[in-house]
């Protein structure tokens, strides 16, 4: 019989150390992320077996309007041993603690993969008229670990939040990732990764190179340039941009934990900024997080050039995965989101489904009211 797990708040340093001891964790689970989400109260909690910290989570407490009750939110977390077939022993002390803190419900996103599809399968799915959603395509793999987590969460009374259609329910359930190691865990070569991309991507990378696009890793002072281009992109593509201060806060918070954790990338052509991105890396997992591109000079393919530079950088840093983040589940060629999927799919790699976000109502009455409030807010 192993020592039972206990849970208590931990210091930022303990939290950092636990994450550093893991191969990877979502950047949304790093203690630094708390300062990005300053409007919510944050807490680092740790699981202990005896004196040893064996798990950690960043909890964001979102207050319900007017009452002192909170939704305890653990985005893409917690960081625990999800392969354990006794998840109840991990989750029970967590829920007890969060309840004591005034949580009326707990929401989490187990960082567990449930299904994978190859780029070819996604491409064929988009081309196939009868296929509307990624789930209609037979996956390469349904993971036993993922299914076991889902079965246990059902058994433990958690409720899966539907993510059907778009990005509506918090963090995306479907992501696109380029594996940077082979099946045996050995690093892939640049040539191999490049060969995995579709012809258009390879041609565009070459084109950018020939046109003289130069990609450089920037620093904090370059955030302003990134942001100017990002505001321009937002206007063109009709989304609401975040303020510069958001990115500055994110940069400071993440860079303070690890100097390589957040990067600003700039692609220039003859002095003009044609593309800019923000990349994040935690352990062996590298993310493409935000991107911007100019409307002028699209023909020099700055976006492809900057992605390729980020991928090479991730390979050099020993990353196992290059993550292009969310895609929608739709494979309907008439859907406006499909262009984004096609761009990401061109990198080769895999579409990956995670277990999604799950809620555990602690106070059923307030939870119901909260859902009504969300529904009315639209």
């Amino acid at each position: 019989m192993t020592t039972p797990l206990t849970l208590r708040p931990i210091s930022t340093q303990q939290h950092r150390d636990l994450i550093a001891s893991r191969s990877s964790a979502s950047f949304l689970q790093t203690p630094g992320w708390a300062s990005v989400k300053a409007e919510w109260r944050a807490e680092s909690i740790g699981w202990f077996r005896g004196d040893e910290v064996v798990g950690a989570a960043l909890v964001l407490y979102r207050q319900l309007p007017k009452v002192r009750r909170y939704l305890a939110y653990l985005p893409e977390g917690p960081v625990i041993d999800w392969s354990d077939d006794d998840l109840g022993s991990w989750l029970a002390p967590m829920v007890a603690h969060l309840k004591q803190q005034g949580a009326f419900a707990v929401r989490m996103g187990p960082p567990v993969v449930t299904r994978r599809w190859s780029a070819e399968q996604v491409k064929a799915g988009i081309a196939d008229e009868s296929v509307r959603r990624l789930g209609d395509v037979p996956p390469l793999d349904r993971t036993q670990d993922g299914a076991r987590v889902i079965a246990q969460l059902h058994e433990l009374g958690w409720q899966q939040q539907s993510a059907e259609g778009g990005f509506t329910a918090g963090q995306p359930q479907f992501n696109f990732q380029v594996p940077l190691v082979d099946e045996n865990g050995q690093p892939r070569s640049e040539a191999d990764v490049l060969a995995g991309m579709n012809q258009l991507w390879r041609r565009n990378i070459k084109k950018a190179d020939k046109a003289g696009v130069e990609v450089a890793l920037g620093d904090r002072t370059d955030l302003k340039s990134f942001h100017d281009l990002y505001v321009h992109t937002a206007e063109r593509d009709h989304f609401t941009p975040r303020p510069l201060s958001y990115f500055e806060t994110m940069y400071d918070a993440l860079a303070a934990e690890d100097p390589g954790r957040i990067q600003v990338w700039l692609a220039r052509h003859e002095g003009d900024l044609v593309a800019a991105t923000i990349g994040i890396r935690v352990g062996t997992h590298a993310w493409y997080s935000y991107g911007a591109s100019s409307t002028e000079k699209r023909e020099v393919r700055g976006s492809n050039a900057v992605q390729w530079a980020m991928i090479r950088h991730a390979l050099d840093a020993g990353a196992h995965v290059y993550d292009l983040r969310g895609i929608t589940e739709t494979l309907d060629s008439d859907d406006s989101h499909v262009g984004l999927i096609q761009f990401k799919v061109g990198t080769g790699g895999q579409a990956v489904e995670y277990a999604g976000e799950w809620d555990l109502p602690v106070n059923r009455a307030i939870y119901k009211a909260f859902q009504l409030y969300l529904a009315r807010r639209g």
């Binding site: 037979p138 349904r142 036993q144 299914a147 076991r148 889902i150 079965a151 059902h154 058994e155």
Partner: protein, 359 residues
């Protein structure tokens, strides 16, 4: 002289072909009284469906029987695999299978211990693992399945899939089926075949798109054999007619006629299942009130019978006998002549017909 089931053969066969065509992977169920048609006849018909694969595009490579005692009856008339729905137990008829037939049998295993025992009894046994559903009848939990997966290992074994027996009358089975399929994945069992029952066509369609990597095999009985009710008619022969005045006594129990009319004696009695009320499963208040009312009628007067004359359901003059029933026809109504056939409404699963005529 008999209680007969007459089948419009042309119409029935085309319904069978249509059902098989729209349910690829179908496992026809032939059990119990054969839905009134007998297991033997259904097994023969299943073979006929298998022989029409060019027409339907669906191979009928397996049928399901209810018990081990039914295996022999089906096996001599149908050439494919025989899935036994009653779970295998280390005792009883399951152990007495004829060796010539046992290689065609697919067992249902619902307890981890039985898996071990079955494989000891017959190392070549083929089987499906039944999952515990909300019915809580037979079946294995997620952890049982995981234990079975460990026992079987990743290599080839007799495992032919998992089976789930779902309850009737629920709003939708999809939530439960999704959880059960997820449990199969979680268990690590090396199979992607699922045998299901009682799913609507829409639900089967949704399953096929949601689990394109799974083979879903619907077990279908009622909707296959009795799905086109218009092709089936049940009749009883009028055997005798007696005129009675009010107060006349008649029958085994010496009842007296409540008013002037006729006692009509028809074929069909308790031996056929007539008058033995099978619970309908309808739990509405109205249905329960109706059951109570029928019980009350029984005590003081006549009970409604399943026999109807000229479209009007007639009352039992007294409880049915073994092979015949006495009906009361009040004066004023047409009296059927001896030898005439009248209509009967029965539950097919609870009726044994004297004759089945496939026209």
């Amino acid at each position: 002289m008999s209680l007969s089931l007459t089948v419009d053969g042309e119409r029935w066969r085309s319904h069978l072909l249509r059902t098989v065509r729209t349910h690829p992977g179908i496992v026809p169920v032939a059990k119990g009284n054969g839905y009134g048609l007998s297991v033997a006849r259904l097994a023969r018909r299943a073979q006929w469906l298998a022989d029409h694969v060019d027409d339907t595009g669906a191979a009928v490579d397996m049928i399901a029987v209810g018990t081990y005692d039914e295996v022999a009856e089906a096996a001599s008339r149908y050439a494919g695999d025989l899935l036994v729905l009653t779970p295998w137990r280390p005792f009883g008829a399951a152990l007495d299978l004829d060796a010539r037939i046992s290689s065609r049998v697919v067992h249902t295993v619902s307890r981890p211990d039985d898996l071990t025992a079955l494989r000891e009894h017959d190392p070549d046994a083929r089987f499906v693992l039944e999952q515990l559903t909300s019915m809580l009848r037979h079946g294995m939990t997620r952890r049982d399945l995981a234990a079975a997966a460990t026992a079987l290992g990743p290599g080839r074994s007799g495992l032919r899939g998992v089976a789930m027996h779902l309850p009737l009358n629920t709003t939708s089975h999809l939530g439960e089926v999704s959880r059960l399929i997820n449990d199969v994945v979680a268990s690590g069992l090396p199979t992607r075949t699922v045998f299901v029952s009682h799913l609507t066509e829409a639900e089967l369609g949704r399953l096929a798109t949601t689990y394109p990597d799974f083979t879903v095999r619907p077990r279908i009985g009622t909707d296959l054999w009795l799905g086109d009710r218009g092709a089936l008619s049940v009749t009883a022969t009028v055997l005798d007619v007696h005129e009675v005045e009010r107060g006349d006594t008649f029958g085994y129990r010496g009842r007296s006629a409540p008013k002037q009319g006729h006692i009509v004696v028809v074929s069909g009695g308790t031996a056929h299942g007539i008058g033995l009320e099978a619970p309908t499963g309808d739990q509405s208040l109205k249905a329960r009130a109706a059951t109570l009312a029928r019980g009350g009628l029984d005590a003081v007067g006549f009970v409604r019978s399943p026999f109807s004359i000229d479209g009007k359901q007639r009352l039992f003059a007294e409880p049915p006998h073994m092979q015949a029933s006495m009906l009361f026809v009040p004066s004023g109504a047409r009296v059927p002549r001896v030898g005439e056939d009248i209509e009967v409404r029965v539950r097919f699963t609870a009726t044994d017909f004297d004759r089945v005529v496939i026209a």
